[in-house]
Symmetry: C2
Subunit: 420 residues, 2 copies
């Protein structure tokens, strides 16, 4: 008998039909002889609708009250899911984050898990019941208040529960068959990856692959939780995210996957005096705004002793960063600011890159031969990322996918929704 | 400084505008120098929509899970209300039934309050904040599960909190100006009652007046809570429901109000042998179904030694009762069953009735002169109820209201909604 944690996102339980389909699947797992804990997100658009309501009442809602409001979403989906399972003749009980022992810090809207004490979940399992747990939410012991974990929070709930309950596997259900070598909506010949290391998965997630959230992968890696990303629409094996400390010594492919990210913008600071300390001063100003700088490029100095510095950051952070820079323009002494939100970031990820030369050359050649211009470059040990124009990013992904021999023979099957 | 508990029903907070209007009113009470605890119901149709969802998933949902589901409704309204108050510059914190210490038995869907420990509510008040508490919900200590209090539960929450916090008054906000001598939607000349005893209020509520729920009035009476039923649309004084043990010795009007109830049906058991024990057997069978019998009439025996017995009960209980009777037809030995759901019950209530003769005669005369037939009669110390045809009930109420000199000079102002 295994203990399996299953996580279903909002698109899997968007309506009564979805709930019933998922309930049937959960009961099948239970009847196969396993202990089952289910983590569920709010149904379909519930969270967005609640946010809309809050906006109608007040422009900037209190964090405590926004968390109280949003936590109603999972309460609805989990109660309905438990009812649906019980109607199939199997005992099921729903638990809020607080009842399931998801203890967090007091950072409303993006709380971090500090402890997991799933006593009631364990009791439910011991009594032969299926435990349904609200994703995305927890509570703070000091204040006694409800908190939420932020984007991708339900994935994190599932992984944290799997770790605390010492589960055999944490299954993340989505609307695609697993993690793909590229977004199958863009690259028709993308194929499912059977096994991926958590290190590679982290790089792919950070590079814009949306199938798993970074925080959940990090948590799984730290606690040795085996992740299985699979489709809620069929029974195919999905992608296993294995922990490198446990991983077998199989031959690692040079490139595991290609990811694209259109969420970043580029800011160029024009005419910065090319003297020591100026660049440091500039990035200190931006860092103070809380903006997350990704790539940086500094042009060579002109005859006049001035240089241009470009950096990328999330689109949503760009305006704040530029306002902060403008406020300090006199002190730093630059000429002007340029803003460009039409960029795309392409990344190739692969653990085999470490021991393999020529990856960069192959990437650049493929893009060059297709007439795609590279504007910025950054690398990690197992990743290379380049900035191109946003409108060429899908072409670039297809070209690179082919260049690294990732194309499958058959087209991938894609279901609707985003799997969040 | 007074401690005021205010209860707002779903129609008062049906949308963002309603929430903002109510928030403004709460802040005014606070700024007038009072401590304020607010009990709020789910917004508008939220509860009905959640019930619809449950019905789509499963025909008869589990009580535990239905309570978990429905409790999401107040979570939404209370969080939005707290946000709205905070945006007006006054500190407010929302609390679930469980956080507010509403401890109940484990009877899902109709839980009874067994203890109220509003420690966090008291702390919020001590820190100068307004406490917003979810109506209708509590939790059971033994199981740790969320419960709901059933119909009118938010009124009960408000009264129970007022009792536990030793509040000066519990204000029940609705969409009419208070308790009226008759339903102002039916009787244009109905007038607001300034003071009513809890005994009279109980009889009116039991007789079909919908402005307050019986349970809340009972709880208030038992714990000596002063109720103030008033409109959320103006600042008029409403109706004070005073506790008789505290009441002054004012002259009591003979008739305080007239109520109508269209929720009952009549069942007639035809051809029952008129021998001792048959009627008792019959009502034992009905009682076992849990049906709440109200009035009973037995016709005089015929020459053949058979009699007809009629009784009234809630429409929703009629079918179950008839099925149970039919199953025992051979044993009891009656001829047939008749079902009539076109009846209406009219009641006149007044504490002065005790010491005043001729009320029954006046009531019967008024109805007789208007050609309205009386089918059944029942009385308590301070109430007389009669059954008439459903389609004449509104005429009957108007006639009786006039006959007992209750008509006001001006028409009552009625707002939309039901004030639940």
């Amino acid at each position: 008998m295994s203990l399996i944690v299953q996580k279903y996102g909002g698109s899997s339980v968007a309506d009564a039909e979805g709930l019933k389909r998922v309930a049937k699947r959960i009961v099948e797992t239970k009847k196969a002889g396993h202990e089952v804990v289910v983590v569920v997100s709010a149904m379909g658009d519930t969270t967005d609708n609640l946010l809309d309501l809050a906006e109608q009442v007040v422009p900037i809602p209190s964090g405590r009250e926004l968390d109280m409001l949003l936590s109603a979403g999972e309460r609805i989906s989990m109660a309905l899911l438990a009812m649906s399972i019980k109607s199939l003749g199997v005992e099921a009980r729903s638990y809020t984050g607080s009842q399931a022992g998801m203890i967090t810090d007091a950072q409303h809207g993006s709380a971090r898990i500090v402890d997991v004490t799933p006593r009631r979940v364990r009791e439910a399992l011991d009594e032969g019941a299926i435990a349904i747990v609200a994703g995305f939410q927890g509570y703070n012991r000091g204040t006694g208040d409800i908190t939420t974990l932020g984007r991708g929070g339900s994935d994190t709930t599932a992984v944290a529960l799997a770790a605390a309950l010492n589960a055999d596997v944490c299954e993340i259900y989505t609307d695609v068959d697993g993690v793909f070598t590229a977004d199958p909506r863009v690259v028709k010949s993308a194929h499912k990856i059977d096994r991926i290391t958590s290190e590679e998965m982290l790089e792919l997630a950070a590079a814009g692959a949306k199938v798993l959230y970074i925080r959940a992968v990090e948590y799984a890696r730290r606690h040795g939780v085996l992740l299985h990303v699979r489709s809620s629409f069929n029974n195919n094996e999905g992608t296993l995210v294995v922990n490198p400390t446990e991983g077998e010594n199989v031959e690692e492919p040079i490139i595991t996957g290609v990811a694209a990210d259109l969420s970043q913008a580029k800011v160029t600071v024009v005419g910065v005096p090319d003297i020591p300390g100026k660049a440091a001063r500039l990035f200190t100003i931006v860092a103070k705004t809380g903006a997350n700088i990704d790539m940086i490029v500094q042009n060579s100095s002109t005859a006049s002793g001035l240089t241009d510095i470009s950096f990328t950051l999330p689109k949503s952070d760009a305006q704040t960063a530029m306002t902060a820079l403008t406020a300090e323009q006199a002190e730093v002494g630059f000429t002007s600011l340029q803003h460009d939100d039409q960029i795309g970031k392409l990344s190739v990820v692969g653990a085999g890159m470490r021991s393999s030369a020529g990856v960069t050359a192959k990437l650049f050649t493929a893009l060059y031969e297709s007439g795609i211009n590279i504007e910025m470059i950054s690398t990690s040990e197992i990743r290379i990322s380049v900035i191109t124009r946003a409108d060429t990013i899908n072409d670039a992904v297809r070209i690179v996918h082919t260049a690294f021999d990732l194309d499958a023979d058959e087209e991938a099957v894609v279901h609707g929704g985003t799997g969040r």
